[in-house]
Amino acid sequence: MTTAHRPTWNAVQGGKDQGGNRILVPSRQYSSKDLPGHTILKERKKGQGNPEELKSVDFKAQLLQKEKEYFLEKSKFEENPQSEEESEGDIEQEESESYENQSEEESSEDEEALRAEIEKIKAERAEAERKRKEQEDIERQKARREEILNGNPLLDIAQGYQLKRKWTEETMFRNQARGEPKEKQRFINDTVRSDLHKKILKRYIY
């Protein structure tokens, strides 16, 4: 049996003679980590934050400048979508206004011709609309007739008197969670107490 389960009342104390540091017979074993390697210390060169270089740096101004830049960028990112939409709308409005102004000026000359043209177009459009509606009516009637004839599955012998719907589609099985209060999404700052963890435990362990 190990002592791993026991509490550590007295932590191990180090010293010159402990932890294998007392050399009775020099050891021939070396950890690979203790082998010589990286035998040169890397000094900070120019551009890497050399102490000489940093003597002349005004850290306060530098930091404030950087933060300003960051916040400016952030505010741009947040505000941009709105501002773009607004500006686009404005441009459209302006365009339409200018167009109207122009048309008024020109209309004085060939007003009559234009009016006739507009009337003609209007009439054409009304005709097309009427035709489309008639067509739709006919189609609707047809569909209704079809449904009345074939809609009742009990009368449809080809289907063998069987309902197409599955039993799970019964209303009592449907949307049972509709009325339930929605669980609020929340963050718990502990992996063990978090909702996700509890859900997993409930599903797979308990």
Partner: protein
């Protein structure tokens, strides 16, 4: 002119050559005067007490002889009483005068006003307690070590995660970014100390030897030495380049919580859970001095950047010590909470981070505690998770970074709206220092 000067020099030489090296004689009268005033101020009340006792005894004796004796009728005693009262009033006046005189001689320190600090940013990203912070010498990033075994590097200006370093197998307890080398040193409760190469973001050296979790690291400002303190009650000195252990400084009987190194003297300072501060001589590897004034475990030791002094923090008090011999200078009265870390910036704002989540701001020059902030835990944490493990100023001293128990890193800044009129210094914050005889 030259002749005159040389003649003058010669004369003075003749006059004082005989006295050279002799001690300056103090007139005897001054000594007597000093002793007199001292004894008078010390034993001022005692003669009265003695007289009273003698009188009481006399009265009792008389009572024994004659039971019907009433002391109030005794004219002699009345006269004595009157005279004594007069004397008392005189002496009290004298005492007041002396006190005033003393007050004039007291050295006063006016607290310096500092702006208030306020929370600026909360950074969450670690999965465990955040235990330590270090700021890059170029002031562009800072690194935090956490109980989730990770070291994370964040951008200082934006607070965004730049990098996560994985390599430790237990809580990372301290981090140090070297000023001179492009290295980051980290130590951990898994008994290891690692050296990260910041050009490749890889571990390139291991310092092997501690028998228990390593709690604190420090780099010598000028020599290539690394100091580490540990739960195994030792402080170890490492050669950074060869990974060899140069010294083991043993002597503490508890976890050594913190170590501070300095350039002017070959000396390091360790603070320990056994309530002692030890000053170690690096040339001999021995303890130079043990400071025993603290009553509680010392979790933080910090050098001041200008004064040749250091501050130690324990749950009872902050104490200021003079270097290099460790002479006690002053107390900063604490509020009783365990203090995990200290930070000082160049405006002499001293910050202590408490284990109960209280961030205290002090004026270093006077020891006046001008602000206390109770940190708010991030939503979803327990209220008991308010605790500050490490505090650190960035290189400019404008931002204060704290590592907290609710797994967040918080950044504080000075409040521009605070002024001396909105947050005045109370008159009682003035500090009097008694003159030393």
């Amino acid at each position: 002119m030259e002749d005159l000067v040389t003649e003058n020099l010669k004369r003075t030489y003749c006059l004082f050559a005989a006295n050279q090296g002799a001690r300056v004689k103090r007139p005897r009268d001054i000594d007597i005067l000093v002793n007199d005033t001292k004894s008078r101020s010390f034993y001022k009340g005692i003669p009265d007490v003695v007289e009273e006792v003698i009188k009481k005894r006399k009265i009792e004796e008389k009572k024994l002889e004659n039971p019907s004796y009433n002391p109030n009728t005794d004219i002699d005693s009345l006269k004595a009483l009157l005279s004594r009262r007069e004397e008392e009033s005189k002496s009290s006046q004298l005492a007041i005068f002396q006190d005033k005189h003393l007050n004039l001689r007291l050295k006063t320190i006016e607290p310096v006003w500092h702006p208030q600090w306020k929370l600026m940013r909360v950074i969450s990203g670690h999965q465990g307690w955040v235990r330590c912070i270090t700021v890059d010498p170029t002031n562009s990033w800072f690194a935090t070590g956490s109980n989730d075994r990770m070291i994370k590097i964040w951008d200082l200006a934006s607070g965004q995660l730049k990098l996560s370093l994985v390599g430790h197998i237990n809580a990372v307890r301290d981090l140090v970014a070297s000023d001179r080398h492009s290295y980051l040193f980290s130590c951990s409760e898994d008994k290891t100390i690692n050296c990260w190469d910041l050009e490749y973001n890889k571990i390139i050296r291991h310092y092997h030897g501690h028998l228990n979790g390593v709690y604190s690291l420090s780099i010598h400002p000028t020599l290539d030495l690394l100091f580490s303190t540990s739960r195994d009650c030792t402080c170890r000195v490492w050669d950074i380049r060869t990974k060899a252990q140069v010294m083991v400084l043993e002597g503490h009987t508890g976890t050594v919580w913190d170590v501070a190194s300095q350039a002017p003297e070959p000396q390091i300072i360790t603070g320990s859970a056994d309530t002692f501060i030890k000053l170690w001589d690096l040339s001999t590897g021995r303890c130079m001095n043990t400071l025993t004034r603290h009553k509680k475990a010392i979790r933080a030791v910090k050098f001041h950047h200008e004064d040749y002094a250091f501050i130690s923090a324990a749950a009872d008090n902050l104490k200021l010590w003079k270097c290099p011999e460790g002479e006690f200078l002053r107390n900063f009265p604490g509020n009783g909470s365990i203090i995990n870390d200290i930070a000082i910036n160049e405006d002499n704002v001293l910050v202590t981070g408490g284990d109960d989540g209280v961030l205290s701001f002090w004026d270093y020059s006077s020891g006046y505690n001008f602000q206390n902030i109770q940190t708010q835990v991030q939503p979803g944490s327990l209220s008991c998770e308010a605790g500050i493990f490490a505090t650190c100023f960035d290189r400019s001293g404008l931002r204060l970074i704290t590592a907290e128990c609710d797994k967040t890193i918080k950044i504080y800044k000075e409040d521009e709206n605070s002024s001396i009129s909105s947050h005045p210094i109370p008159p009682e914050a003035k500090v009097f220092i008694k003159p030393k005889y």
